[in-house]
């Protein structure tokens, strides 16, 4: 359904992470004594993962300056927790991370408009289908005369989320359609409003939510012939957690019997009204403040540990012992040869199998490990640039290698590389946006939440750009100042 995203790149990344964890996971018997329900009851908490950028299923509202997850899925999760007599704990992350988080046991279950496709069923267990809404197209109101349903879209451009049911439907059922794939619904809607696509295929409640908040848009029924069982949304669990699945299925039965879903959707609609009443960016300053705060925390802490790690790596590399220099070279080459996004996923989920690290810590660890490799190369360049006469003079005076490094070589190397280190710091500020993928609430994460919540596609991006620019520009000013002060000698 709506968010059954299977973007190929993400899939590849997840496969890498899962392969990385492979041996660890393999040792865990998947179908041994199933204690999943007991574990949840004993701990007294049901930990649920979601990706709150998908109204009306799940999104965030700004309540007295605090961000809170709301929406139909959240109400369902609340009901389940209530029936199990445990507290509900919600963990936010990116949609792509939800299934891995379930598999690695970071969360007890994932809810988020997930479509139980056959591929996914191989890696996770699913509850019953709790919702099946149907498929709509969003179009510009002005086009309502020409576009009635899928048949009017022959040969036109149709936007869908990459890898979703809507995408395969459009490719299959609209003759000669040019299907444009994007990652996030707000981007698609923006493409629609700027006439880059003629229609956007989305799930019915999503279409309705957009129409309610944007009077230039119109929702029309898709006209696809759909089998209800294929297109519903369900809750995902770690494979073998049968007792928990059964307990949740009972709650879903109860929700259906009491016909609570329409009520949930209505409540979600009210929350959206609150969100869109005041879409001024000032109203959302708290989102941005949180984003800036976390971006700064990640950057500063990671730069600090990155430099320490970089020094250790470079000293190892310059050592005359192979057992020290070789691992340092291998590590540096490996880190430089893999994308930071995969590293972030690996630290969070891969190491997460051994120790349960919170997302922020995992993000900082990953960025530090990454930065350390680059810093070590920068420092090595700086050391090589120090005149050979300096080490000869040090040796002729009988200084030990350690004293020579600490008092003579490194201080000069750092002076040489100060601008390069500053660049690395600025790079980290910008690249730290990658940790939004595991749900760390830095600027890009907040930006995506806000775009989904407010139905404003562009303004939050502009604000985020300005924020990033202010951060890196003031940093480079500060660094310049220190560079000038260091240049006394």
């Amino acid at each position: 359904m709506g968010k059954s995203k299977l973007k190929t790149v993400m899939q590849l990344l997840l496969v890498v992470v899962i392969v990385g964890m492979g041996s660890l996971l393999a040792r865990r018997p998947a179908h041994a004594d199933d204690q999943s329900l007991n574990r949840v009851k004993q701990s007294g908490t049901l930990t649920v993962g979601t990706a709150p950028d998908y109204p009306p299923f799940e999104f965030q509202v700004n309540k007295g300056g605090n961000q809170e997850d709301v929406g139909m899925d959240i109400d369902i999760a609340k009901q389940i927790a209530k029936n199990l007599h445990v507290k509900l704990k919600i963990k936010n992350m990116s949609f792509e991370s939800l299934l891995v988080a379930v598999q690695s046991g970071k969360i007890d279950m994932a809810i988020g408009g997930i479509n139980p496709t056959p591929e996914r069923k191989q890696n996770a267990d699913f509850s019953k289908i709790y919702y099946s809404g149907g498929q709509d197209f969003l179009i510009n109101k002005n086009d309502a005369g020409q576009i009635k349903n899928k048949n009017s879209l022959k040969g036109k451009k149709v936007g869908t989320q990459t890898g979703t049911l809507q995408q395969s439907l459009a490719k299959k059922d609209i003759p000669n359609a040019h299907v444009v794939g994007m990652d996030k619904t707000p981007d698609l809607v923006l493409a629609l409003k700027t006439h880059k696509v003629a229609a956007v295929g989305v799930e019915k409640p999503v279409a309705q939510a957009y129409v309610a908040n944007d009077h230039d848009l119109k929702a029309i029924d898709s006209g696809y012939k759909l089998n209800k069982n294929d297109v519903g949304t369900a809750i995902a669990f770690k494979k073998g957690n049968t007792s928990l699945v059964n307990a949740v299925n009972q709650s879903i039965d109860q929700i259906h019997k009491k016909n609570l879903i329409p009520q949930y959707l209505k409540d979600a609609g009210k929350h959206m009204k609150v969100n869109t009443n005041n879409t001024s960016m000032w109203h959302y300053w708290k989102y941005f403040a949180t984003g800036v705060e976390y971006t700064l925390i990640i950057s500063v802490v990671s730069v600090f540990f990155g430099i320490i790690l970089g020094i250790i790596l470079v000293l190892m590399r310059l050592s005359k012992y192979k057992f020290l220099s070789w691992p340092s070279i291998a590590y540096t080459e490996f880190v430089r040869g893999t994308p930071m996004m995969v590293q972030v996923l690996f630290v969070y989920f891969g190491l997460g199998v051994l120790v349960n690290i919170p997302a922020l810590t995992a993000g900082i660890i990953a960025v530090s490990l990454n930065s350390g490799a680059y810093v070590s190369e920068i420092i090595r360049g700086g050391i090589n640039a120090v005149d050979k006469g300096q080490s000869e003079a040090s040796r002729s005076l009988g200084l030990s290698k350690k004293d020579m490094m600490a008092s003579v070589i490194l201080p000069q190397a750092f002076k040489n590389i100060w601008p390069a280190l500053g660049n690395e710091f600025i790079t980290i500020i910008k690249d730290s946006s990658i940790v939004s993928i595991i749900g760390v609430t830095e600027i890009v994460y907040e930006l995506n939440i806000m775009r989904a919540d407010t139905y404003r596609g562009v303004a939050p991006i502009a604000v985020a750009m300005i924020l990033y620019f202010i951060l890196s520009f003031s940093l480079s000013r500060v660094l310049n100042y220190f560079e000038r002060r260091m240049n006394h000698d």
Partner: protein, 253 residues
């Protein structure tokens, strides 16, 4: 062994050094007595610097012996080589002061780290030496603000702060503007007069004539001739020496 050999502070026996295929030192022999000033002269690329750098083990010889105070340096472990810093001082053509610290800190670093001198003692020693080379007022400036002559005098004072038994000089004046050569040679001459044992690689023939006890002429990987300056400059015996001396005299005129 002659009587002289027994008293030698440094005794070099059949010292050889190759860089890959290139054999630079092909068998150096010579004795340096305590208090002697040896000037080493010779054409460019003949291995003078390499020889000097072997004496304090900045360069590991390929074979041969360097007996210093009765012990063969070429057999020294890394730890033992490090102790040479306290006993053999070296002054480089390009000064090699540490640009990231003041003149005083340049001088105090090794006494404190290597000799474990207290800060106050290191300061006193350093200031005394700076006074001696005529640069007391430069204690707290950074090397970048010194002239070449001043920098080289500081470099000498820095080496002397370790209170070494021997001082090695590798063309200490050839990177200097002509008007600064004098002030550096003057300090070296004073040092010689005080009885310091010195090995000086130099092109300053005037200095060699005036100060050296012995001049060694080096060419083609060997010491071709050793003699008093008067003998070597005025009555060279070796053909290569004659050629070299003639060439310098012609250049000077």
């Amino acid at each position: 062994m002659t009587k002289n050999d027994e008293q030698a502070l440094i005794q070099v026996n059949d010292l050889k050094k190759s860089f890959g295929e290139n054999e630079v030192l092909k068998g150096i022999n010579g004795n340096i007595q305590t208090g002697q000033v040896i000037c080493v002269i010779g054409p460019s690329g003949s291995g003078k610097s390499t020889f000097l750098r072997c004496l304090n083990m900045l360069e590991q010889p390929t074979s041969g012996q360097i007996i210093f105070d009765g012990k063969d340096l070429t057999k020294f472990t890394h730890k033992e080589v490090a102790t040479l810093g306290e006993r053999i001082g070296m002054v480089f053509q390009s000064f090699n002061l540490f640009p990231n610290m003041t003149v005083l800190d340049n001088m105090k670093l090794a006494p404190k780290k290597v000799k474990h001198m207290r800060d106050q003692e290191a300061t006193e020693v350093s200031l005394k030496l700076l006074y001696r080379v005529g640069l007391k007022e430069k204690a707290n400036v950074y090397p970048s603000s010194l002239s070449g002559g001043q920098a080289q005098r500081v470099a000498m004072a820095r080496a002397l702060a370790m209170n070494p038994q021997v001082m090695l000089f590798d063309e200490p004046t050839s990177a200097l503007d002509p008007e600064m050569v004098g002030e550096v040679l003057e300090v070296m001459q004073e040092l010689a007069n005080e009885g310091m044992t010195m090995v000086v690689v130099t092109h300053e023939m005037g200095f060699a004539k005036k100060v050296a006890d012995k001049v060694w002429f080096m060419a083609d990987g060997y010491i071709q001739e050793k003699n008093t300056p008067d003998q070597l400059f005025d009555h060279p015996e070796n053909e290569r020496t004659k050629e070299f001396i003639n060439k310098i005299i012609n250049e000077d005129e």
